[in-house]
């Protein structure tokens, strides 16, 4: 049986390799339940003490119980000085070996460090050997997660608390008698509070998103439907871009958002539209923080957040690219750079949701936001049928005097002839008909090409 060799294994790890052997690390390395690992360590320590061999061993223990004063469950990690700690505890729920190492540890940092890597590599089955179980905690299917995130999860803390009391203990008997029942409560308490804050955070994030969508689509009935389908297609990345574009909308909407309970992650994103970069950087620490948490749900959430921050960064890049490449109509006096400082300008009241790319940023370029009569040279696309019978679209400079709305109309008409074979770049102007309540200056140079143009083609 493999059990016979565990003593030699532990000996090798501790003495030869000078490792810190924690019970968690041992359970993953040998593939045994944590309680069994604790017993193995205990056996080893006892034998070594009996042998009284020269090798100096330092052992850390974990003592948990409820304090005399507070009545809360407290977990101490310490080395050998039990009596002082026991006196502080009214009820000692458990004492077990936490780790064995050769060196005397000055603090608990290396213990955490030891467990960190092995846990990270076993993230998918981190509770495989664990004594803490919750029957309701199963990884969500990806399809569910997108839609279910929108639902209110405020009852989660309550439900998980009830589940904590229903915990069943595992098969292996722990060395201390009351250990399993007490420990899970304490640790479940921590997990519950963690779980509560996490869904709350994502919850709040999706709440503003949902609100923004409904606000934006107040004028157009199609938009909410489209929003949902689009969101299902593009997931969180698209929703965020949506959010960003909506951020450029009026303060009226921001008032509604302010009503939301403030969350550190979402606040920068919502309240400061110009601070896109800042928000992505703030999101990063949260992202890495959430990355480290275990559990199916959490891994999923953090992945999405990582994608979102990455996409935010990507999005900033993408702003630059199309402007340098081909944009439909380039108006020469206007500088293509100005739309980067987009959002504060008066936004269009109605926004067509299926436009994840920051195509709406160009409108803000004309700070006045009103239509002006101008004469200017405009790069227009002319579509015609050439000798081979193919429909060809060419860019041609034309000078014209027009307001913004006129310009749009022209573009709309030319878009009808768009041939199916031409590149994506030539495309979408239909998006503009959404935001077009006349005030915002749209349809000028540096229009962003929207990938959803495909879906507009009917």
């Amino acid at each position: 049986m493999a059990d016979q060799f565990y003593l030699e294994n532990i000996d090798e790890f501790v003495t030869d390799q000078n490792k810190i052997v924690t019970y968690k690390w041992l359970s993953y390395t040998l593939g045994v339940h944590v309680n069994q690992a604790k017993q193995m360590l205990y056996d080893y320590v006892e034998r070594k003490r009996k042998e009284n061999s020269g090798a100096q061993l330092h052992v850390t223990y974990l003592v948990s119980g409820s304090l005399l004063q507070n009545g809360h469950s407290v977990i101490y990690v310490l080395t050998d000085c039990f009596s002082s700690v026991k006196s502080k505890l009214a009820v000692t729920a458990s004492i077990h070996v936490y780790s064995i190492q050769k060196a005397m540890l000055k603090d608990s940092g290396p213990l955490f460090n030891t467990d960190y890597d092995i846990l990270k590599s076993n993230l998918q089955n981190c509770s495989k050997f664990s004594a803490i179980q919750c029957a309701a905690a199963v990884p969500r299917a990806p399809a569910e997660s997108l839609s279910s995130r929108k639902f209110d999860q405020s009852d989660l803390p309550a439900s998980s608390e009830t589940q904590a009391s229903e915990l069943t203990t595992n098969g292996h008997g722990p060395p201390a008698s009351k250990q399993v029942s007490q420990q899970p409560k304490g640790i479940m308490g921590m997990l519950v509070s963690k779980a509560a804050t996490k869904p709350q955070e994502t919850n709040k994030e999706t709440k503003p998103e949902a609100k923004e969508i409904t606000n934006a689509s107040s004028a157009g009935g199609k938009a909410p439907g489209k929003a949902n389908t689009m969101s299902n297609f593009f997931g969180k990345a698209a929703m965020n871009k949506l959010k960003v574009n909506l951020d450029s909308e009026q303060p009226v909407k921001e008032e509604k958002l302010v009503e939301q309970p403030p969350v550190s992650v979402t606040e920068p994103k919502l309240a400061a539209p110009t601070g896109l970069k800042k928000s992505s950087k703030k999101a990063e620490p949260v992202k890495t923080q959430q990355k480290e948490k275990k559990g199916g749900k959490r891994v999923e959430l953090s992945d999405d957040e990582a994608k979102e921050t990455e996409n935010m960064k990507k999005k900033r890049r993408r702003i630059k690219l199309p402007e340098s490449d081909s944009s439909e109509d380039e108006v020469f006096p206007d500088s293509p750079e100005t739309y980067e400082a987009e959002s504060p300008s008066p936004p269009p009241p109605v926004f067509s949701p299926p436009d994840p790319l920051p195509k709406e940023l160009p409108p803000i370029k004309s700070s006045s936001g009103e239509s002006k009569r101008k004469r200017r040279r405009v790069l227009k696309s002319k579509t015609f049928v050439d000798e081979e019978g193919c429909i060809v679209t060419e860019k041609v400079y034309e000078s014209e005097s027009c307001t913004d709305s006129e310009e749009e109309l022209k573009m709309k008409t030319s878009s009808v002839h768009r041939p199916p074979a031409t590149a994506v770049k030539k495309e979408p102007r239909e998006e503009r008909k959404g935001p077009k309540k006349g005030t915002a200056a749209l349809g000028r140079a540096n229009r962003q090409v929207s990938i959803t143009g495909f879906f507009q083609k009917k």
Binding site: L105, K106, F112, E284, T288, Q289, E292
Partner: protein, 245 residues
């Protein structure tokens, strides 16, 4: 799999950044573990978020867009979530000294002129008692084989930190009243260039004395080795056989 020469990307800078940040943590940790300074001046801090962030931004960008712009040296300590906790000194002069030292080493690392960085612990008579030797090799041809390169490097550096934390077990106690210094072994004539470019004013580097470098009757204790696509490093300790004499 991408193969790049050192000139293709500004990889040298990124690797130098990573190494300097790691060495700063390592030096502080050595001083803490070996009790060169009283433990009271040390504070527990979190580490191994910052260099990963630099990498995540820059190297992943580089992989996708072939453009790399390393972030300027950001503050070492972050208050973000912990992957590793390390002890860092709070004493401003000590911190400044270590930072200045590594700031001067950075240009050498960028050009791959550094052979080893040695943290020497000296006793009261200024004779070396222990030497923590970081042997550094950077491959001339960098092959980025995976996107998880950076988390891999982070993991390896974390293992180094862990090993330094437990090196007590294999080393004898140092006599009281020790001091420390940092030696850099460079390749060829790199130091001459360094004199020309005085990186930090009033922080001159001098050629080390023989007595600082040479240790009588050393014992070699290897601690850790790491190999990655961008960096190879080895840490071992040379210890004087009789420390208290």
């Amino acid at each position: 799999m991408t193969t790049l020469t050192r000139q293709d990307l500004n990889f040298g800078q990124v690797v130098a950044d990573v190494l300097c940040e790691f060495l700063e943590v390592a030096v502080h940790l050595i001083l803490y573990v070996r009790e060169v300074y009283p433990v009271g001046i040390f504070q527990k801090r979190k580490k191994y978020n910052v260099p990963v962030q630099i990498f995540t931004d820059d190297i992943i960008k580089a992989q996708r867009n072939s453009v790399i712009c390393p972030r300027p040296h950001s503050p070492l300590m972050s208050n973000d979530s912990a992957e590793t906790s390390a002890y860092m000194s709070c004493h401003p002069e000590l911190n400044q000294y270590i930072q200045d030292t590594l700031h001067c080493v950075k240009p050498l690392l960028e050009k791959n002129d550094v052979e080893k960085v040695v943290v020497v612990i000296l006793d009261k008579e200024h004779r070396p008692v222990e030497k923590f030797v970081f042997e550094i090799t950077q491959p001339p041809l960098l092959s980025i084989s995976s996107d998880s390169l950076l988390s891999h490097v982070e993991q390896l550096l974390r293992a180094f930190i862990l090993k330094i934390s437990v090196c007590d077990a294999v080393l004898d106690h140092n006599p009281p009243g020790c001091t420390f210094t940092v030696l850099v072994h460079t390749r060829e004539a790199a130091t001459r260039n360094m004199e020309k470019i005085q990186v930090i004013k009033d922080f001159p580097w001098i050629l080390a004395d023989e007595q600082d470098v040479h240790m009588h009757d050393p014992r070699l204790i290897p601690l850790k080795t790491m190999t990655s696509d961008i960096l190879k490093m080895q840490l071992y300790v040379e210890e004087r056989a009789h420390k208290s004499s």
